[in-house]
Every structure is written in structure tokens, then in C-alpha cells.
Amino acid sequence: MNFPYFCAPGAAFAGVVFIVSVAHAQGEPPTPTTPTPTPATSSSDERDIQAALAADAAKSDQPASTATPASSGPTAPSSGVQSLNPDISVIADFAAAAFSNDTHLETGAHDPQHNGFNLQALELSFAAAVDPYLRFDSHISLELSGIDVEEAYGTTLGLPFRLQARLGQFLNRFGRLNASHPHTWNFSDQPFALGRVFGAEGNKGLGGELSWLTPLPWYVELVGSTMMADGDETSRSFLGDTQRTVHGPKDLEYLAAAKQFFPLSDDWSLAWGMSGAFGPNPSGPGNRSAIYGSDVYLKYRPITSQSPLVVSLTSEWYYRRRQVPADIIQDVSSYTELFLRFAERWATAVRYEHGTAPFGVDGKVTDPLDPEWTRARQRVALALTHYPSEFSRFRLQVSRDMPGWRAASWAGFLTAELAIGAHGAHVF
């Protein structure tokens, strides 16, 4: 039997077509309106308007976050234009920076690096479906000194058994922050732990990834990947700057991660992840490095009533152990940040970071990667962010760095972010 409303030229079909046709015929097109000139508002009106706007600004629930044009994981920005061109977006991050100590200890490639004006990042992103089976995402960082392929990877869309594969150059899904891009961060520089453990660019490389969305009643995703352990800025703990050749699987980096999500209520969410990265360490024959991590993200955003409030707590911990001749060098680094969106277009955040001194099997050791890092380091940062729209952001950030091995120092940043092009999808 056909579905009569659509497929059969029967009376029922004609009836529905009639219904719809008649219905539309009854509507009248809106008439353009030009408000007529009127007396100006009074000064008391103006005072009242200012007060009402201030109250509303503190109540709107529109997200105060810059758009995420196609650059935070395998997402698919949409375009309204019917074409086969990929979605294209550009995000620029500029900073005016002031350091109380010129030899500061910022570890990120996109962190402000010197007094005065800095180009933190100019990211050009392309994304599109390749065919019914794959999509492609790429993020190219244009820098004053050259071009860097941040990411360029294909993602499968429909492998069986809820599996998904990625292939290409990508940021490893270790923890929460490593796989993200600077424009999604609550601060204008990365936690020093990321630079200390993985390098200035974060842990990324050419490789492959397979992930599995398990059939458990709650969200559990298991991730496994392997990639080249290359580059001082991407595979620091694997001594990626060392010239070496891949002779077999043991010369590659491997990642295993489990990501869980718990919708505690409509308003409360909790994400918890555990990760491990393992790879070669050419400090001696057969030496290996391992990094273990755990990350927690707790978010409160009331969505059952109108409110601008968003509060989130993020904490990520890294334990690293590296075999070196006659010892095992270990350290623990972490950051914890509290984010508060208190009004429609305003947010603030505070971050505390800690990194232990390296320790060996029998106590204190010197880390050849950071020989000056002989005592614990702490850093505190405070940020105030204003979002004029979803596509621009201005931030004032002040931080106090307290490395145990030298005098404490201050850093202040005023940063601006501008995003154009396709509106990408945010990740949670």
C-alpha cells in the first residue's frame, strides 16, 4: 500500500494538498513597517533603560564564547550556501603582553612570548564531507615565521559496531585540553603542564586513531591511537627532537584513553577521563617514557529556567615517568581552573597550576629536559573576558608565576580574538 498523502493520486492526497494550499492562501505577507517620527525619550526613560539593560545583561543565557569555527575535534560546521566548497573559517588571536621578567617561562607555542604586541595564532580551517563515508578537517596555523599544519585528518562517519577511525595529522585525545585549540580556552596561555610534558604545540603527529562508543548505559568512549613520536614541540617526553628512524611498532607513540560523561541532571554535567601515552625514549637502548593522566570537568548551566549563569571546574593531572640510564625520572604536573560566566557577555576565570620537582627512584634528580626545574613551580592566573558577540572576544589576564628555583614574576595580557567564516560546532 502506498502512503496515500504523498504517493497515491487519491482523494486523501488531494485533500491534504488542498488543506495545505488553502492554509497558505489565508496567510498575508508581512507589511514592511517604518516607524513614524516620535518625540524623543525623556531623561527618566534613559535612566530606566540603562538599569533594565544592566539587569538583562546579567540574565541572558546566550553563551559568552567565541564561535568554534571547525577546529575542536571532528566537528562539521554547516554552511547555508549550496556549494561543494568546504566550510572555511579564520580565527586570529592577538595579544599585548607585559612580563616583569623578560626570560619568562611560558611554555605554549601560541602563548604571548614577548613584551609588546604578539600574534598568538592565525588559524585557517577547512572542513567538509569527503564522501558518504568520510569527512575531512584541517587547521592550518599561519605564523609570522611560516606555516604549521596543526591538524589535517579524515574521520569515518559510519564504521560498524560504533567504531570511528581518524587518520592523518591530529592532536592526540589525551585528557581534556590537549586536543583543543586556543580559542576554546578560558585563558590566553596554556597551562605549563602541557608544554612541560608534551611540548609547546601539545601532543600531535601523523598517525591513526580508533575509538569505540561502548554500548554501556552511560557514555563511555574508549580511544586508542598511534602516531609518530616526532618533534621537540609535540613529543617532548619521548625526546622527539632526536633524529631517529622507525624500525618497528616500538618506535611509535601509543595512546589509550577512556572518556566518560554523566548527566547528573539537566543543569549539572560531569565528564571524567583517564589517559595514558607511551612511547620510545632514546636516552638509552630500549628506554621508554610513559605519561598517565586524569581529567575532570564539572559544569553547572541552568537550562530549565532563563539564566546566563555558567560555572565550570576543570582539573587535569599528569604523572610522567621516563627511563634514563640508571634511574627513572618522574614528575607530577596539574592545573585546576574555575570558570564563571556571570552575565550575558562577561566571564571570569581563575587558574592554579602546580608542577613538582623531578624525582627519581632514590629521591631528587636533575631532569635533562628542564635542568633548572629543581623545585616545585606554582602559577596563579586570573582572567576577565568580554564577548561582544559570538565571533569576537577580548580578555584581560594577569598571572603570577612562582617557580621555586628563581624569583617570582608577573605577566599581564590583553588579548583580542576575531573569528570569521563558517560557524563551527562547539564541543562540550
Partner: protein, 303 residues
Amino acid sequence: MFHKLSLLLFAALVLFVPLDASAKLELVATTPDLAVVAREVGGADVHVVALALPTQDPHFVDAKPHLALALSKANLLLLTGAGLEVGWLPTLLTGSRNADIQPGSPGYLDCSSLVSLLEVPTTQVDRSQGDIHPQGNPHYSYDPRRVETLAVGIGKRLSELDSAHKAGYFARTKSFVDGLRAARAAWEARLAKLRGEKVIAYHKSLPYLAEWLGVQVVEHIEPKPGIPPNPSHVAHVLEAARANKVRVILQQAYYPSGTSKLIADKAGAVFLQIQGYPDFAAGQTYTAYMNELVGKLAKALGI
């Protein structure tokens, strides 16, 4: 050996056994308006999940990972389209790993393709005009005429995906459309006096309601879509409210209300807050939702 063979056999049975003809179709709707229509058209043959709550601004839903779980099991995804979910759905869709509901698949139904859209730009647009939708305005479900078309489109897709229950989808679609048509006639009669009425809205989310009822939205509290109001614009809106003798300031409950209330007070208008979407979880139907909306409008305007 026997044990291993048994396990393999069991796995093969579990993984490759064809779908039970009596199994329900799994539907995921991005917004509650689509979900309530799908529930009525699908009846007992479907199980429907709505990703957004009726109290949420649908532009800004968090892409919570567990929503991808619902999508991973879906046979059919219904989205509002026209860019409404662009900020959150693509992440979930890719993460769902579900080939059946990817764009271009039979299980992917962009409902904006079923209705005629308003405010489709005819000239070059950019974001200096605010966070606009280049494909047209996505808030079409405030017009029951378009929802009739929507229900027909959903029914058609369900019957294609699940031909064994085609008769049921047909009967329920007809029943829904007939019921809505009758209700609409009553609403139109009740609100006939509204034709030509000038109102103010918060966001450009009411053009379909305005078109249906013959109402004119003379101003928006937002100076441009997605851009918060500023004092000079609010003063301009207040002037427009007074000049046009606006009797009602109308907006969804998920927008801030202070500025709207102020303008209503100063212009001698009624501030009317409407629920953004039908309450899907509470079992509210589309007709019941619109009935409530019409009743509020009539009461606010004393008709």
C-alpha cells in the same frame, strides 16, 4: 574449542540478526516542536527523544556527549535546519558514528526542507548584520499551517523507513492534520481581530507567527540577531512602541525579560512571555501548546 565456536555463533546471531519487524523506530528530534509532532505521527511505532529542552534557547544547546548516545541508536534524525543547530549538532552527529543519520542518508531529515522559509536573504549577507541565518528564518513551527506540511513530511519519511507500519503513519498523520486544521480554524476566528496589530518581539523568532496571524512586528529588542540591546536602540524601540501604539511585547521565556518589561511599562503595553517550545517530556501536544499560546495572546489583548 566448542566454547569458542559457541561464542562466535552467539555474536553472529546478536550482530547480524535482522531487525524485528515489530521493533519501534528510534527517532531523535533536535527540538521539542519536532519531537511532539513526530510522537503524534509515529504513535506506538516510534520512540522519540528530544535533544533540547523547551526552556532552552535552541541556538545554544550544549553538545553533551550523552546526546550522541541517543543519536548513535537513531533510525531517523529530525532537525529544524536553516542553521539553527549549527553550533552544536554537527559535533554530536559525527560523534554518533551512525551512518544511517548522516546528511544525505534516508535517516536524516532537515525539516526546513519541508516548509517554505521566510527571510531568506536575497542579497549578500555577512555578520555585520548580526548572527543571521543565511538559509532563512528557522522558527517556522509557530505557524500551524507549516506544521501541517511538516507532519506530512515526517509521516512520509517514517512510512519510507518503516513500510510495514505505513498504514498507521498514514492514519495518524491524517488525524493530526485534521485535528490541527480544525483547531487552527478556531484560533484564526478567535484572533481575527489581531490582523494588522503591531507588536514588538525580542529576537527575530516570530515572523511565522506574525505572518500567520497578520500581525506586524515593528521592532525587535535586539538591534540585530544575537546582538544584545544597547541604550540607544532600546530608546528607539520605546519610541517605535509609542508611535505605533504597540499593545504587546512578545517573547520566548528563554530571553531576558527586564528590558522588554521596561518598554512595555513605559509604552503602556502588555509584556507577554511565551514558552519557547511544547513541553515534550510532560506529554504536551503541539495543538495543546498552540492553544495555550493563542489563549495567552487573546487574554493579553483582551479579545
